[in-house]
Amino acid sequence: MDDRDSINLNGTLLEWPVREIERAQLEQCTALQYKGPIGDSRWEEFTFVSEQPLRGEEDRGRDGPFRYLVVCRRSGRRIAILSLSRRIVDRLTARLVSEVFALRFRRVTIAVDSLVKALVEHPTVYSLSFACARAPAFGAALRNVSFYGDDLGEASLFRENLHLLNCFVCGIRAVSGGSEIVRLNSDGRISFKMPKPDTVRQVEHVLRFLRGEGYLSTEIWPED
């Protein structure tokens, strides 16, 4: 078993509105080193070298520079950038904009609320393993609720109150079983376990599903 299996990757779907993003542009960033593709997928692995500790290494008495795993998937003007923590991704993104892109990236937002409601109303090959939502009608009296399970849509408690909720995070898993494939946040953040070629394919399928059904704010992830 790969010791990286248990690593959770967090990142963001982004778009650079000016033109297509090339790997050469990423490599122009002095802090980013290309390592190679993940299996035969279109996902690419990099190392981000930071002078500043971004995972609390200073508490453990470690000196820099600090090297962090970064996983990317480019597609036209869009890119998914993931790493071990959101802080690393934010720092890397700022560095990319500062050194290479000048105009910053846009977040590709995910219509999580619509997605959750559609998955419940019209069940597909995916089920919901997690949902976090605001309950806006109740104002200060009741602000947020969270649900966990293997298939939330099958629970009437969830179904019958869904019209009173605005979901902003959800977890997706295959109806056929297995653990959660990917967790999606309405602001374009995604997270999943360290990808191996088969998990990459699952994540890729979910993202294509999102694109195909119009849940992404831009035409991310063309079927290339």
């Binding site: 509105p17 000048a102 806006p136 009608a137 109740f138 009173l164 909720l165 605005n166």
Partner: protein, 638 residues
């Protein structure tokens, strides 16, 4: 790109030499005064921060420069900025991006990009501060039959002053529609729709106005003309050709405040598309179909989404309200217009000038529509006799609508008792004349209680702290309201009482304590503090004898809103925001940084305003940022 907080003023003036105009940037408005002549116009411009460009605050355009005005466009959507170094300022006019480029081919590439994007622009060639040449964008004509509609309105056969008012309206509307052509905010569609509404009102409604009410119709037209005049001047001033379109908001006379009116329009559009489209007044009227056996004066009705359950047929289209800024009108609503204070343009980041106060005006619009059917018509003897019968029956009415009307009448009698300090059982004898007098006396008060409770529940989510701080901050801006403080205390406590109705007779005390706690925590000094001290005095010293009887008399009105006007399903639409990414933390889930001009979508402008107008101190830069986010983030078609 972020607002830097370093702002300046762009000053244009015609020099004594014919055809010679000068432009410069000055750091502060007083510095513009010595340069002022009869042609001078000025607008504030806001600096931004970025590695590639700068925003000088004192700049005389030495040498050769191309000054390019672009907009309306989100500054991060001006893609040439990714590769061209230049000076950048932002305005709150429709030309909201101002670029100074000292390289003519690069300036041409920016203009070419604007042409390709079909984005309005102007390019001025400037040499040592003097404008040598101007090239402007030609707005396209607004298509459709709007000219025929205006002509039909103009030909309407009305007499005297009404005819004058209509004739004033026609060129005003024709100019507004013409100037809106090709603008991204789609003002044209709304103006054409508003014009059609006016034509319909003239043909169907005003034509049937009897002589004794013709001044009422005139009043309505004057309101429309005043609103349209302000809207047009504020929005389209500073549109191309800039040098020929002057804004009468003098501090913005060069570029206008089109972006601010777009922001205001987007707030209005959101409320109309949620609460407006919910057609609460139609749903409420449908309660007449619901059989009733409950005595609502004594019983709390069962939990139900009374309005949400109503099935609507095919209602008439909603009349688009004309939105504009006005120093004189401030926050004000009529059947066809809604205004916000002009001060909000530079101070809407603060609680006392927050655009969230608009919700109170929209609540008035909705309650007015409900009251038009619920509140007895004082000019209709049959209606009054029916009301007397309802009261005298001393039993539940046959249907829910009539029962609610019965508790309104019941409340009015109690409100009068409380005001006159009458003891229980000493209420006024009711007959046609006394009922008429009561209805007239208490109409506005009933409206206000319903509006406050409605506003508190739908728009403030029963958040006592935000609500009490917000309304008392806005009241603090009104001069000479010392005599109304008791009314405001009663209204505040009644609104908060919506939270405590189910706690029985102790509800009023809980509501009082919550309001008192927030008032007590407000800053010891500042605008409106004397009113707050007065309010605290009423609560602390006159609760039992003065305040409590008034609140208790209004309890049934609060119940009407809490039980019958509030729908959880509709409130989810009004208060929902799908663009949040977290829970109820510091920013209520928004991943938005104040002052940062990131391209972000906001589906609920009210939620955004609620979160980001949390300060006491007005700030022009923060206000401009809020207007940018509302104008570009909430653009309904964007």
């Amino acid at each position: 790109m972020q607002f830097s907080g370093k702002n300046a003023f762009l000053l244009l003036r015609r020099e004594p030499a014919p055809g010679n105009e000068a432009i410069r940037i000055v750091a502060d408005f007083p510095l513009a005064i010595p340069l002022w002549n009869n042609s001078s116009r000025v607008s504030p411009v806001f600096g931004v921060t970025n590695r590639e460009y700068s925003s000088p605050v004192d700049f005389e355009f030495p040498g050769k420069w191309s000054l390019i005005f672009l907009g309306p466009v989100h500054p991060e959507n001006v893609f040439p900025l990714a590769s061209i170094q230049c000076h950048v300022w932002l305005s709150v006019g429709l030309f909201n991006v101002v670029l100074a480029v000292d390289d003519a081919p690069k300036a041409t590439s920016i203009v070419d990009w604007a042409k390709e994007e079909q984005l309005p622009y102007e390019r001025w060639e400037v040499e040592d501060g003097s404008i040598r040449d101007m090239s402007t964008w030609q707005p396209p004509d607004v298509q459709g039959d709007w000219r025929d509609v205006v002509a039909r309105i103009c030909k309407s056969a009305f007499r005297d002053e009404l005819k004058e008012a209509i004739q004033e309206y026609c060129p005003l509307m024709a100019s507004a529609i013409s100037r809106s052509g090709g603008l991204p905010f789609d003002f044209a569609t709304e103006l054409v729709s508003f014009n059609q509404t006016v034509a319909r009102l003239l043909e169907v409604y005003y034509r049937n106005v009897k002589d004794d009410r013709s001044y009422w119709a005139l009043g309505q037209f004057l309101v429309i003309n005043a609103g349209l005049s302000r809207f047009s001047s504020q929005t389209f001033a500073g549109a191309t050709p800039i040098e020929h379109t002057e804004c009468h908001f003098w501090l913005h006379s060069l570029l206008g405040i089109g972006l601010a009116t777009a922001a205001l329009r987007n707030v209005r559009t959101f409320i109309q598309s949620t609460l407006g489209e919910a057609r609460l007044h139609d749903r409420f009227s449908a309660l007449a179909q619901k059989t009733n056996t409950l005595d609502l004066t004594k019983r709390f009705p069962p939990d139900a989404d009374y309005l949400g359950e109503v099935e609507l047929g095919s209602p008439d289209p909603i009349i688009p309200l004309l939105t504009y800024f006005s120093a004189r009108d401030g926050y004000r609503s009529t059947e066809l217009t809604v205004s916000a204070p002009l001060a909000a343009v530079a101070a809407c980041n603060s609680q006392r000038w927050s655009l969230l106060t608009l919700t109170h005006e929209f609540s008035h619009v909705i309650i007015r529509a409900i009251q038009a059917r619920l509140y007895p018509d004082n000019n209709n003897p049959a209606d009054l006799l029916n009301c007397l019968a309802l009261i005298e029956a001393n039993a539940p009415a046959e249907n829910l609508f009539e029962e609610i009307r019965r508790i309104v009448l019941f409340s009015i009698v109690k409100m009068d008792d409380a005001a006159q300090n009458r003891k229980a059982g000493d209420s006024i004898d009711l007959n046609l004349a006394s009922l008429q007098a009561l209805l007239q006396r208490w109409r506005q008060d009933v409206d206000e209680i319903l509006v406050h409770a409605f506003d508190f529940m739908y728009f403030y989510g029963q958040d006592v702290d935000k609500y009490v701080r917000g309304i008392w901050a806005s009241w603090g801006t009104i001069p000479n309201i010392g005599t109304r403080v008791l009314d405001y205390v009663v209204r505040s406590i009644c609104a908060v009482l919506t939270k405590h109705l189910r706690r029985g007779s102790k509800g009023e005390a809980f509501a009082r304590d919550e309001v008192r706690a927030v008032l007590g925590a407000l800053p010891a000094h500042g605008t409106g503090r004397r009113y707050i001290d007065q309010a605290i005095q009423y609560i602390d010293q006159y609760w039992d004898d003065v305040v409590l009887p008034r609140v208790r008399a209004r309890r049934q009105l609060v119940k009407i809103v809490n039980v019958f006007l509030f729908s959880e399903g509709i409130a989810t639409q009004v208060r929902g925001e799908t663009q949040v990414s977290g829970g109820a933390g510091k920013k209520e889930g928004y991943e938005i940084v104040r002052g940062d001009l990131e391209v972000r979508r906001i589906t609920n402008p009210l939620h955004f305003i609620e979160v980001f107008t949390d300060t006491l101190t007005p700030n022009a830069t923060d206000s401009a940022w809020i207007l940018y986010m509302l104008a570009f983030g909430c653009e309904p078609n964007g």
